[in-house]
Symmetry: C2
Subunit: 433 residues, 2 copies
């Protein structure tokens, strides 16, 4: 009688009326009317309506209680998907759940961000909030599928590192068996070294920034999507790959998170066949900034985003040729013929809807260039011995990029604060849940 196979809520509309089904999920909504109780059951695929009549002799557990419901699939044009479950036997799978801090059954969560974050294990259950996590996961599927298909190898580099050499600032110190060590700010040094091994590598993993600033864009820990590849001509090859990766991420969402997209009523960005590129110097001119500005301010990025939208109908714009002094020491200087050498670097930022999403470019690959760049910072190459051995033993021209997963999702869903799309954010103030 009781079917062993479970029917997922999302599959209920396809069940033949009259069939017995077994639903498993949380009570999303309990609505007790005079003669009937409606129980909406939520599982990972959607919502299903269960109708309990007095004659059924069933208790309706409170919202969020996990339940099993065995009953009859019954056509009802009023029910979601046109099929509901009647004559149910409802079994609570745990104790009656405590009332959630926010009503999860409402279309929108009516609570401020601190409340939502304090109760993240519960508030993330809301279908529209959960959708953000589904979009993040589908983005990763698209990211990896794109890179796997062109010969990349996934790697995992250590997050505990000996020195804070990469940037020297904003690192978390740890006690490593009585010695000082640090949390890696990025897998940059490792992914470069591994180009010598695998030629094309990517890593998806946490990076750590002891950001002393409290902004809507920064986290102390986030998921970085890192890519690095060898035998490139210059940063434009990296940008070409980035274009394909973004298209793949978009396709991943459209394919694997279609339901989340419709729950959020999102319009996914179109990734153009070629991402428009503007040189840093031209970008400054375009936004009316002084020619000696070393970087783009957020308002400049917004203006450039609007310009790309108007001029190219593109949500994406790459700015190349940033001044060397604003880029990390391993950045390759400008080498394309369109401009004289000595002007800027073979690096780029990718703006997505007017906000920096990706930083990338070509790296130095010759040992003497590294030694010179490190000395120019007033440091000794010996402090980088472990990193530099890859270059001493032969490294090809290479480059790559890094993309913050949370930032990508935040821009997609137009979240005002990056914490809205981070399962359990870490920042200056927040260390739980």
């Amino acid at each position: 009688m009781k079917p062993t196979d479970r029917t997922l809520a999302g599959h209920l509309p396809a069940v033949a009326p009259g069939d017995t089904v077994r639903l498993c999920g949380h009570v999303h909504r309990r609505r007790e009317l005079a003669t009937v109780t409606f129980l909406v059951v939520r599982d990972r695929t959607g919502l299903a309506q269960v109708v309990i009549k007095a004659a059924d002799g069933q208790e309706a557990p409170p919202e969020e209680t996990p339940v099993e419901v065995v009953g009859i699939a019954t056509a009802n044009p009023q029910a979601p998907g046109g099929v509901e479950v009647t004559s149910p036997v409802v079994t609570a799978l745990s104790d009656p759940a405590l009332t959630p801090p926010v009503e999860l059954w409402r279309p929108e969560l009516a609570a401020g961000l601190p409340t939502l974050l304090d109760h993240a294990p519960v508030t993330w259950r809301h279908p529209r909030v959960r959708a953000r996590g589904e979009i993040a996961a589908a983005s990763l599927r698209g990211f990896r599928a794109t890179l796997d298909s062109v010969g990349f190898t996934e790697v995992h580099s250590p997050k505990i590192v000996e020195s804070a050499t990469e940037s020297g600032a904003n690192v978390f110190a740890i006690d490593y068996f009585g010695r000082p060590a640090y949390l890696a700010q990025s897998p940059q040094f490792y992914k470069q070294q591994l180009v010598g091994v695998f030629e094309r590598v990517y890593e998806v993993g946490p990076v750590f920034r002891a950001e002393p600033h409290d902004t809507v864009r920064h986290l102390a820990e986030y998921v970085s999507l890192d890519v690095e590849l060898g035998f490139i001509r210059d940063h434009r090859d990296v940008l070409g790959l980035l274009r394909d990766v973004l298209a793949g991420m978009r396709a991943g969402i459209a394919t694997y998170a279609a339901d989340a997209v419709s729950r959020l009523q999102l319009e996914l960005p179109v990734v153009p066949p070629e991402i428009p590129v503007i040189h840093f110097a031209e970008a400054l001119e375009l936004v009316g900034a002084p020619a000696d500005e070393p970087d783009l301010a957020p308002e400049h990025e917004r203006a450039l985003g609007a310009w790309a939208r108007e001029t190219y109908a593109s949500d994406f714009l790459a700015v190349e040729g940033y001044p060397m002094r604003k880029r990390p020491f391993y950045t390759h200087p400008w080498s394309r013929q369109a401009r004289p050498p000595g002007e800027g670097s073979n690096s780029f930022d990718l703006l997505f809807r007017g906000l920096e999403l990706v930083t990338g470019g070509q790296r130095l690959h010759r040992l003497p260039d590294y030694e010179e760049a490190i000395r120019a910072r007033g440091e000794e190459p010996a402090a980088y011995a472990s990193y530099l051995q890859a270059f001493a033993h032969g490294m090809p021209p290479h480059g790559g990029f890094a993309l913050g997963l949370e930032r990508w999702v935040a821009r997609l869903v137009e979240a005002a604060n990056i914490r809205e799309v981070t399962l359990f954010p870490r920042d200056l103030h927040r260390l739980t849940p």
Copy 2:
């Protein structure tokens, strides 16, 4: 004349003789004979032989130098794959490479483990060493594909946590903006909480263990493959899923790392349609250990592995029903009818070739059970408030498992030391490269 498309070494055998090709790679081997120099070029797909004659007027850069070679594909039954490159133009893409600390062109690396690890960015270039990384990556593809196909969502939980509550020992302390915090030993608490959100989740990410022991099996940082799912009956459902995941990982390797498998002359394990299971009490009896032993010693695991091999022709054996006192506090007690309650737990270890590879099981899901278990440890539930809110607000019966990626690869390639299959290992003594 010079083709813009690159020919990969592994594709050279398919090129029509007489065609011009462009290879990019590192000089793997330079062999200078009286009248001819053989240059073996290595790229991510394999090795290609280049023949330089005096008349070609070409320099042959030293081993490990990255090069571009443009030449003619020429049939030669003696060459690897039957095709070599003649009349080449060889261009070094960087300075001549320093001689590697170990000869990478030899079939086997002739050096001790400390030398190999000190020079990891170079020694990993060896084709048989690189193969281990390719197998790890292909395993992950299989892992994710299996779980993606049955409704799992990939998640990323924070690695910086507020308290060391999960086990209380062997954690790394960090300075978090002036406050104490810790590196997560596992995503256990988070993946459980997220079952309430996504129902089925997995995470691939680093975990940190301040292991004060120096063994061939332990690392201070490793990649954990974590899975958790809701609405299970008991741990046997988890074990069934684990079986499919292992089969998927094996298939991933066979499909995506076939060349690495043949480079290492590996025999991949057969994953049986059902993994044989033995109860802990029976396992003790079988190996002749006293009935009150709380755990299996390594020699017991080896004996059980041999027994499974003989009895079931299986490389895998699950041992279920471990005593509660050796399992973490969130473990669900034994509930299957085959044995009386109070005997052991709904948990298992999976032995792979006689070595523990996976730990898994059913977890508690009722809040009162957690409160009791925490008090039984002499602690206060309030210390776990953030974790426990998920249970207060309704959690289904659930369970999962964790599998160490490096351990899996180590057993597959029969590495004597787990460091051999870890790109940049971290342990009591090692913090670089």
